[in-house]
């Protein structure tokens, strides 16, 4: 089964990425290690980090017209900052992996099963 890990954290508290090369690499190290672990275990199906919500644009339909607005869909205390897509045998296994995610240091991880769909045709 596939699961999506949705990584939430308070991006204001996390602050900007450090400009200094060494500090940047130190910040990235646990993420690199975690991603490697997922790949080596054969469960990694994909994942990305997102730019902060200050770069978000929300599209809605009001009446017939598309309306473009600045900002995320909802202002929340914690923001979606990235995701992983993993292949696990069970929710228990997925939760074990989620617990190891570096996002758990300061934030939280929402684990959602991918909805099974029949292949077309």
């Amino acid at each position: 089964m596939q699961y999506m890990f949705l990584l939430y954290d308070n991006e204001a508290a996390a602050g900007d990425a450090p400009q200094d090369e060494a500090a940047f690499e130190a910040m990235m190290a646990p993420w690199v290690a975690y991603t490697h672990a997922l790949v080596e275990a054969g469960v990694m199906r994909g994942g990305e980090a997102l730019m902060p919500t200050s770069t978000a644009t929300t599209l809605t339909r009001a009446g017939g017209a598309l309306v473009t607005t600045d900002g995320p869909f909802a202002e929340t205390a914690e923001q979606l900052g990235g995701f992983y897509l993993v292949e696990c045998a069970s929710l228990e296994e997925a939760l074990k992996w989620a617990a190891l995610c570096p996002a758990m240091e300061t934030g939280r991880v929402e684990v959602r099963p991918i909805m099974p769909t029949d292949p077309p045709g």
């Binding site: 400009q19 200094d20 090369e21 940047f24 730019m51 902060p52 200050s54 770069t55 978000a56 644009t57 009446g63 473009t68 607005t69 600045d70 900002g71």
Partner: protein
């Protein structure tokens, strides 16, 4: 002090021409703006010591160009993109690219690209306004902050956030293609009009210190009109703003009190602005579909042409409002104005009935405009008790003190007081 003023003047005259080429070459809005701000900061420092250079623009361009090259060199290697470009473009190549980018031949295209980028709908409306005023109009952050009565630091944070969003979300520095031009131009014109209405509403405050936002909006519309002369909606908006602006001296009396259109001294209307606007109204109306701004301008033109309030062609105004009503899909504010026009064209009862029908509109629920309009029509109909009640309702809702005093005077003229009426 004089140097500060000279630098503000140069900022205003040349900011656009400095920042636009840098956006193209540096590939980033924030980086370009930083280089320009640093350039002006350096001008203040150096010119304070050595006096103004002979050709300030040449000095500013040279300094901005060198600043851009320095910035490239300083950018950390881990920033892959910068490193890539730095590898491909040694300083000399970049200097040549910058010199070419600073050629005057690019000015018009750059202005248009800048306006569309600053007014991108993915930016918050107040950020669009602030960015446009600083980047396109060349106002300093200080001037923009003062015009909107916000702290300079608040404004600067807002602009920095918007600049970052442009860079990070991938908003392209370009004029939209034909299929996107219409909605994007609508967004630009909306922003320009917001600048104008902000200036129009600001009747208080010290005009010596505050930049006149109406003037800025008109200047912007003239710029866009010059760059896109074939777009009827631009001519319509420019005409509309000119016609409103022409009335500015008559809108407020010597005591600072609001004067209704009907009571204005038409001798104080700016005839030169009206003369400039009337052909633009015609041009605006030629577009298909007819632009909303052009219809509004045509209505304003009928007022401007009327020798007195009594001679106003209300029949034609009511007809234009009917078109506007259809076009805006029954926008409540348009319906309100249409109802008043119908009443003034002789259908007092029909106009009042239309206003009653607007009573449940959420968009008007907290505004004083509906009861104020009802009050005026009830007064005309001779239903004075109802008129007084409607004026009181309007007074309870109004926020702007100038408009509140106006409503209180209207109420007093009907023998009423702001307090609850005792009579039946």
């Amino acid at each position: 002090m004089d140097l500060n003023r000279a630098i503000d003047g140069l900022h205003r005259a040349h900011h656009r021409a400095l920042v636009a080429p840098l956006i193209r070459i540096l590939g980033g809005f924030e980086a370009a703006e930083d280089v320009v701000q640093d350039t002006f900061a350096k001008a203040l420092e150096v010119w304070g010591r050595e006096g103004l250079p002979e050709v300030p623009l040449a000095w500013l361009r040279r300094t901005a160009r060198n600043g851009a090259i320095d910035r490239y060199r300083r950018q950390g290697r881990w920033r892959q993109k910068a490193a890539q470009i730095a590898a491909e473009a040694p300083a000399q190549v970049m200097a040549r690219a910058l010199d070419d980018a600073f050629e005057d031949a690019h000015l018009a295209d750059d202005a248009l690209r800048l306006i569309f980028t600053c007014c991108h709908p993915a930016l918050a409306p107040e950020a669009q306004i602030g960015l446009t005023l600083r980047t396109v109009c060349g106002l300093t952050s200080e001037q923009v902050a003062r015009a909107f009565l916000v702290q300079r630091t608040t404004l600067q944070q807002r602009l920095v956030r918007a600049q970052r969003k442009i860079d990070q979300a991938g908003i392209r520095y370009e004029v939209p293609g034909p299929e996107q031009l219409e909605p994007r131009l609508a967004a630009v014109l909306h922003t320009v009009y917001l600048v104008f209405t902000e200036g129009y509403a600001a009747t208080d405050g010290d005009t010596l210190l505050r930049v006149d936002l109406c003037d800025e909006a008109i200047r912007l519309a003239r710029l866009v009109s010059g760059l896109l002369p074939e777009r009827a909606e631009v001519q319509g908006l420019l005409a509309l703003m000119l016609l409103h602006h022409a009335r500015r001296a008559a809108r407020v009396d010597d005591a600072g009190e609001l004067v209704l259109l009907a009571d204005q001294d038409r001798g104080r209307w700016d005839r030169a602005l009206i003369a400039e606007a009337l052909p633009l109204v015609e041009a605006g109306l030629r577009g298909r579909p007819t632009a909303t701004y052009a219809i509004e301008a045509a209505i304003a033109a009928l007022h401007a042409r009327a020798p007195s309030a009594a001679d106003t062609d209300w029949m034609q105004i009511a007809a234009l409002y009917a078109v506007l009503e259809r076009q805006t899909g029954g926008n409540p504010v348009v319906r309100l104005n249409a109802a008043v026009a119908v009443a003034m064209a002789g259908g007092l009862d029909a106009g009042l009935a239309r206003l009653e029908a607007l009573a449940g509109e959420p968009a008007l629920a907290t505004s004083h405009r509906l009861p104020a309009a009802r009050a005026e029509l009830l007064r005309r109909a001779g239903r004075l008790t109802d008129a007084r009640a409607a004026f009181r309702e309007a007074l309870a809702r109004v926020n702007n003190p100038v408009e509140a005093r106006h409503l209180a005077r209207r109420l007093a003229a009907l023998g009423g007081h702001a307090a609850e009426e005792r009579e039946k």
